[in-house]
């Protein structure tokens, strides 16, 4: 894995993050749990492994902010913030990443879809003038791919051959009010991004670290911007949330929270089993 932590370590980090974000959502009595669990492995793989100190991460799907805050915090990238303030008055950690916070790890606020890729492309483009050296990762949702501004940015990134930019699509197949293929069909998504001039790989299971790592490796070289279409499951890891639209919105009852914690702990035991 070229210096990246072992998959088992990532799995353990994922379980700690899941436990933390479930706790945060329960305390806040808030929704967006399914979307945070959908992209959790993508963020863990980046923040606990792939990203170097000067790299940037833009969460375009800002409604997964709890996952972002948790992963940044537990990986030591967000020392300024107390996760206990999530959703509270006078917090930096709002339901969507804050604008103008001054936080190094969250350079831009997001929440309205379609902003993240343009910002990420701009950061990557800036290196042409500043001589700085970093990689930019942008995590997008299905809904982001509905937005015209995303495709404006994709054209820009390809035209300028921004090879220090990686877009990761958290393609869980669900969006705000229906299944993606019913709302606004995006397929063939891999071919679309390839046609827009990206080097593209598909992670057939975007909630699996092996699959993600292989996809990153497949697009690692070359002069083009990179795109990974990660096929994920909304609400991954919590049986009653998986692939359920309502878990874009619902908070957990006490019983649901207990079940989610139990299922997450079971996943931990599974990850501690000896590798085959």
């Amino acid at each position: 894995m070229n210096g990246l932590p072992a998959t088992r370590n990532l799995a353990e980090a994922r379980i700690r993050c899941a436990r933390q974000l479930l706790r945060m959502y329960k305390r806040a009595n808030a929704g967006h749990i399914g979307t945070s669990l959908s992209c959790l492995e993508i963020l863990v793989e980046l923040c606990f492994g792939r990203m170097q100190r000067d790299d940037h991460l833009i969460l375009s799907k800002g409604h997964a902010a709890a996952a972002l805050y948790t992963v940044l915090s537990l990986s030591g990238r967000l020392p300024e913030c107390d996760l206990n303030t999530f959703y509270q008055d006078n917090t930096l950690l709002a339901a969507h990443p804050p604008c103008g916070s001054g936080l190094r790890a969250i350079p831009f606020g997001t929440g309205s879809l379609g902003h993240g890729l343009g910002l990420a492309a701009g950061l990557a483009f800036s290196q042409r003038f500043t001589g700085r050296d970093f990689h930019v990762y942008a995590v997008l949702s299905d809904g982001d791919c509905n937005e015209g501004s995303t495709w404006e940015a994709a054209l820009f990134a390809a035209h300028h051959r921004l090879d220090r930019l990686t877009v990761i699509i958290d393609a869980n197949g669900l969006q705000g009010f229906g299944r993606t293929d019913e709302v606004q069909g995006l397929e063939p998504l891999v071919e679309k991004w390839r046609a827009f001039g990206f080097s593209v790989a598909e992670a057939s299971n975007g909630n699996d670290f092996h699959s993600l790592t292989e996809a990153h490796a497949a697009v690692a070289d070359g002069p083009k911007p990179r795109c990974i279409v990660a096929r994920t499951t909304k609400g991954h890891g919590v049986s009653y949330m998986e692939n359920r639209l309502e878990w874009h919105y619902l908070p957990m009852s006490d019983a649901q929270y207990e079940q989610a914690i139990v299922e997450n702990s079971a996943a931990q035991e599974s990850s501690n089993e000896p590798c085959a």
């Binding site: 604008c99 103008g100 350079p107 831009f108 606020g109 997001t110 929440g111 309205s112 379609g114 902003h115 343009g118 910002l119 990420a120 492309a121 701009g122 950061l123 483009f125 800036s126 042409r128 003038f129 500043t130 700085r132 015209g148 501004s149 404006e152 940015a153 054209l155 820009f156 035209h159």
Partner: protein, 303 residues
């Protein structure tokens, strides 16, 4: 004003290596010299204004000094959310230049007009809206925008206006243009080149004070403007912008904090009341902002 603007950008770019000029695929016949002078720092992002603003925000985040250019409506309305979220709320010093503010593009129609731009931008956090009066103001207006530490919008006039009027005092956010030779009976305050016709007849200067506002928003007005209104008791506000959110409302708010009694008369863009379109001059006539109507107004009000 585009000629003066292009000249300024070219010169500024030579002394400021962090300037990155972004255009939304506009500038034919005006910006070729800028493109040649800036080389790779001249970036045509194509017809993608939303992306232009997001990219500019990221460039500013990295310490560069981006300038976004297009015609005024295209730089403001399409990417308004990007301006709000990516630029203004982060206080990123992105400078946005809109050419042809007001009805400048005339018969091109409403898509090419910007008569609500100052309303929507002047309420953005930290945003300075800078409006030069004529070509001779442009250099100082651009310098002011780049000196200002936050985001700024420069509204360039375009169309029927003369490029320059000799003898104007230097550009300031608020300045006196004409001083009545006798106690003033009318105070005129205007924004942008639509104010220019009020300066032309020398006979007007006897009892009329004229002030130009070059920057919105503002909290206070200058003591000399207050003094003039206090003396004349009659204020005429002129702007090529709709009433809501424009100079008139900004001025009324600022003056309400003063203990003044005065009549307020407001000449402003009336939009498209009959869904008919024409030249800039025609739209100004429909709004009673043309030179003849303004002079008639002034002649009546200064009695």
């Amino acid at each position: 004003m585009r000629v003066e603007f292009a000249n300024w950008v070219e010169q500024f770019g030579r002394r400021e290596p962090r300037l990155i000029f972004l255009t939304g695929d506009l500038g034919f016949g005006a910006l070729e010299q800028v493109r040649a002078a800036l080389g790779p720092r001249f970036v045509n992002v194509g017809v993608s204004e939303q992306n232009m603003i997001s990219v500019a925000a990221a460039l500013a985040h990295e310490g560069l000094r981006p300038l976004c250019y297009s015609i005024a409506p295209f730089t403001v309305f399409r990417p308004l959310e990007q301006i709000r979220l990516d630029v203004a709320l982060h206080r990123h010093p992105v400078k946005i230049v809109g050419n042809g503010g007001g009805y400048g593009y005339g018969i091109m129609g409403a898509s090419h007009h910007a008569i609500e731009d100052l309303a929507v931008l002047s309420c953005m956090p930290g945003m300075a809206c800078i409006v030069p009066l004529c070509g001779s103001d442009v250099t100082a207006a651009c310098e002011a925008a780049f000196t200002y530490p936050g985001p700024a919008y420069i509204r360039l006039g375009f169309g029927i206006w003369p490029d320059s009027i000799g003898g104007l005092p230097p550009f300031e956010p608020q300045r006196r243009l004409v001083t009545a030779s006798a106690p003033p009976k009318l105070t005129i305050v205007g924004l942008g080149p639509v104010l220019l016709p009020t300066l032309l007849p020398a006979s007007m200067a006897e009892t009329v004070d004229v002030f130009a506002i070059g920057q919105l928003p503002f909290q206070n007005v200058t003591p000399e403007l207050i003094e003039s209104i206090n003396a004349s008791g009659r204020l005429l506000v002129i702007e090529e912008h709709v009433a809501r959110g424009g100079l008139g409302e900004h001025l009324a708010a600022a003056l309400s904090r003063q203990n003044l009694r005065f009549e307020l008369h407001h000449r402003c863009a009336q939009g498209y009341p009959h869904s008919r379109y024409g030249s800039q001059r025609w739209h100004l006539e429909q709004s009673q902002l043309d030179a003849e109507a303004l002079r008639a107004d002034i002649a009546t009000l200064k009695q």
